[in-house]
Symmetry: C2
Amino acid sequence: MDNKELDSLFRPKSVAVIGASATPGKIGHSVIKNLLDGKYEGQIYPINNKLTEIQGLKCYASILDVPGPVDSAVVTIPAQYVLPVAEDCGKKGVKALIVITSGFSEVGDTALEEKLVTISRSYGMRVLGPNIVGYLSNTDKLNASFAPFLPLKGKASLITQSGALLIAIDAASYSRGVGFDKLVSIGNMSDLDFADLIAWLNDDPNTTCITLHIEGFKDGRKFIEQCRKTSKPIIALKAGVSSHGAAAAASHTGSLAGATKVYGAAFQQAGAVQATDLDNLFDRTLSLSLQPELKGDNLLIITNGGGVGVLATDAAEKYGLPLKFAPKDVQEALKEHMPEFGSAKNPVDMTGMAGNEWYKETVRYSLTHDWVDGVVVLYCETAITNPTDIAQAVYDAFQESGVKNKPVTTSFVGGERCEAAMKWLVDKGIPAYGAPDVAVNAMAALREYAQIRESISKNSEMKLVGDKGTALKVIAKARAAGRDSLTEIEAKEVFSAYGLPVTKTVLSTSEDEAVAFANKVGYPIVMKIVSPDILHKSDAGGVKVNVKDDKSVREAFQTIMKNAREYKADADIHGIAIQEMAPWGTEVIMGSINDPTFGPTVMFGLGGIFVEVLKDVTFRVAPVSCSQSKQMISEIRGAPILAGVRGEAPRDREKLAETICQYSNMILDLGDEIKESDANPILVYEEGQGVKVVDARIILKKK
Amino acid sequence: MDNKELDSLFRPKSVAVIGASATPGKIGHSVIKNLLDGKYEGQIYPINNKLTEIQGLKCYASILDVPGPVDSAVVTIPAQYVLPVAEDCGKKGVKALIVITSGFSEVGDTALEEKLVTISRSYGMRVLGPNIVGYLSNTDKLNASFAPFLPLKGKASLITQSGALLIAIDAASYSRGVGFDKLVSIGNMSDLDFADLIAWLNDDPNTTCITLHIEGFKDGRKFIEQCRKTSKPIIALKAGVSSHGAAAAASHTGSLAGATKVYGAAFQQAGAVQATDLDNLFDRTLSLSLQPELKGDNLLIITNGGGVGVLATDAAEKYGLPLKFAPKDVQEALKEHMPEFGSAKNPVDMTGMAGNEWYKETVRYSLTHDWVDGVVVLYCETAITNPTDIAQAVYDAFQESGVKNKPVTTSFVGGERCEAAMKWLVDKGIPAYGAPDVAVNAMAALREYAQIRESISKNSEMKLVGDKGTALKVIAKARAAGRDSLTEIEAKEVFSAYGLPVTKTVLSTSEDEAVAFANKVGYPIVMKIVSPDILHKSDAGGVKVNVKDDKSVREAFQTIMKNAREYKADADIHGIAIQEMAPWGTEVIMGSINDPTFGPTVMFGLGGIFVEVLKDVTFRVAPVSCSQSKQMISEIRGAPILAGVRGEAPRDREKLAETICQYSNMILDLGDEIKESDANPILVYEEGQGVKVVDARIILKKK
């Protein structure tokens, strides 16, 4: 997509308002009023065929009557009149429609929405909406919305799917002191979606950070790809993660997925920092829009109150930035600006005796010291200091240090005077918060951003090595037989085609064949019934393990066949699988779903109770690189088991990571065919000894 | 303790200020000024031997010169002069000292502090502090502190260990709109501690909720006992839970303990609701001080914006109050006040079209419906509504409903107008917050309070059934031998004395004895070396399991003895334990520490990787009732394993709970003797089959 195309939408030289109205309370009235109140400097063309003037502006009966060119048209007329108007806009050469009108796909009229997009595309017009509040930009003095005023000026830009929230955030920007350059209501995303807008905002010189409130995507992969290409921090608040009202999941992997885990994985892969709630969205927007990333883990906390220092220390651990004691030289230098009973260890407690000068010297010294990666400055309102002076001291220290690449966040705990001091600091580009742990959380966001971007830069895509032809043949055969799942043997053939280390397994259809194959595979072996009609093989008496010789193979063959017939007389029995008996190893599982938003998605976890009781699993959208696979292996709670506990040797995590990576390639490559799959268990051996996929299952997409 | 005694401290009729000063900036000046500014209506007596008048008040050279009686004396003179002044106060008949002066135990001078208490006690005086900011009470117009003004009026009272934080909170009460009746700086707690003050505040008619900021207790048990007797909500923020700077723990159970877990257990047992951080402390103080508890799980969320409704729904799940769909009749009734595209399911989304009337009708109806236990009202600022009117509507609904026993919290998302509306609502007794999830969290606090009080009322104390005499004899014998730990056999004797189901274990000192005992215990048996010098028995080749007959017993006896000698030639070997071989069961562990704050404290968890890798353990301060033990069993992450997973029968949780309960009685009864102990593993069998303590360990307190 060409970003220049969107310039007409976001920085129009002229705006038409279709459905402009002279009646206060009507949206068509509000938009005109808001454009005027915002002091928009381009041309405004009200369109209404019953009036000649609106709010002092000349009114046109049709957009076709407008004398000059029109970049962008705000549509406020009822849904049933939108299509012909879109045609007219196209004819007029309008570049973009901002469709505030509701009554499209959100009430089920998908056809109307599709027609709108088709017409627009035929004229090369882009569509924002429909079903939106509009678009607001401080830089362009453009309030093309029915939100009553432009937001507090700031450096972040926000995209939200909730119109009501946009209006509330617009107002809250002032009371919270968190400003925005642009607010975008994205609505039904009939044409322009998150990815398109992020791409444009990434090139926007007035946006330093992109804040997202997301209810759902249409195309999750497009979002991930766009975010990865973006050079600005992205903060995402995913709403709708509770299970309340969610449809029950059909599969095991599906039931473990859920919005939190899959979206969380996607944000991780996209390089977007998450916000936990609305307050956190504001807090992190402030730090990510104003401060550089936190490049290392050496955080220094400076305070005049032990109490808030302790709270901040607790928060640092909670938010993944555990404090370290400052080096000797730092401690010695800092002791110069505190009484005997102060502490220079970290948190640096200058005590209630700290005034402006101590704050200034301590902050300045800390910022310039090599060991320090970032500084959180805390202040507790006291009777002997003025919060405004302290704010000035912190700012001066920051300026005088000349240090631009280390972040600072602050917390001023106190009353109105502290609030004023904090507004002043924010205005100067230093984030300030009313509670110490919030300042630490905002700093943690700057660390998360650094880490997530680093992890992305390491994750070069894997090249795909798989024999897709063979896999498709196996699948076609099953489909031809009217099945929508593969047998274990078939699933393993598919896995093998993608180089996954499955246990040797061959299908025998007679006792003699079974004996012959058993000798080829090598004793001891495992024998299992193969039938698309018998899914729970053990329950049917269809499995024998540790079969050690020819005689036992014959006996087992007969027993299994007999059991299967008794279990289900009319079962379609393909035969009995003769399978290599893998030596004991640590059990892990992989699974996949074809997520409606993100497509093929991989799950990984430890087997047994870890997955069944603790639900200790992690997800990634496929493909997953080897370094991402290693991250998956290390982020589950049971990770130490694979690292080796209780004197046991570490497991072959290298090979396991490759296996996850290759599995992700397989489910992506076969994304049109595979609905769900799993490899359960996979046995992981000691380092250098590899892994074995013992059982495999593939459920096909219905076609 | 008699609470009347404290009335002189908290509601004095006269206050002396010792060290009163005419020099602005001095604490002795601030206190006088603050008493006057606060419009304290009792007598104020400045004491200073160099002045005759201070700030218009007659000044006395000594407290002994004061004409009338003095209830309370605020001490601001340097530490070295405090003792004689305390004597004088005692002689004068002062009832309580508020010792602002620092320089006592907090800088290591414990002796001085002890002397202060001794002197005070000898005269029947109570001491608040030393090392405090002072005490503030709105009801009594008493600002006996150097915090510059009385806090915003409110119904909660706060006790804090951080003076700096008290001053900051004092100021923040106004900017945050969260009021307090009393602020108490508790300092070094030389005499009066949290429990004493909680007891008094529980009887204070102007306090509805007690808020605590805690850095540490001296006597944790006293705190728990007092809280349990308290009929008002208590909110606790424990500061200092990070491991930064904490001393490394010596024992396994000790290393798993840590402040978060042990304090968390204590708060649970005390019936105190926890706050996670400073913001949360304010938020929960507001709801717990203004609203009744939430008696059931049927929470209804009412909103004019789908976006905030979804965020609140997510928060409800996150904070343990997952939403349910409203019953049919509720849905039908609520549909009357929303457009077609609204939703009455829950969250109840009246849409952006909702005005005052819809809010009023919907809130009123909901409060009066039997199904509804509590209501969270959300409002997103819109262009067509006025937040103040909505606030009025919510309040009117609340009033007209006549419902007093169901809580309401609200969130108004928007700008200055919303802030004003929220202040108005709070003033009327309805908590209001700037973000939807905060309103839900504040409601969750009301549910936690209901649940925690219910759980306490069920937990009647267990009666102690143990043979302490036998246990002490075993311990005395070990001590006499110069040991500070018991052998497995001795530990099991102690466990047995308290009725704990240990595996039968007898000490044999010869082959013949071993064979005789083996026959008595019954084959198969386990044989283990018994030596205080060999702790890691397996490493020393000192264990043989599944020994099946007399001949094997003799062989094993010789091998174990030989291995033990080779492992440690000079080991003091008591003999070889002959032990019943318990059949397989689910492995769990119990452990105990003698916590410096809370005394004997029990740990429980699943064995093996659950404890070693996942640290999936839970704590309670002893004694633990059976119903609390059941709570412990059900709150670990691995709980489903004991409930029965993968088709396995449930384990005997009844007997396990009794075992934990009895174990807790044992460690409490032997609290003067036992430093740490553990039972690891305990095998838990199917329901009705009981449990077996297979191994036991006791480390004694050094004496």
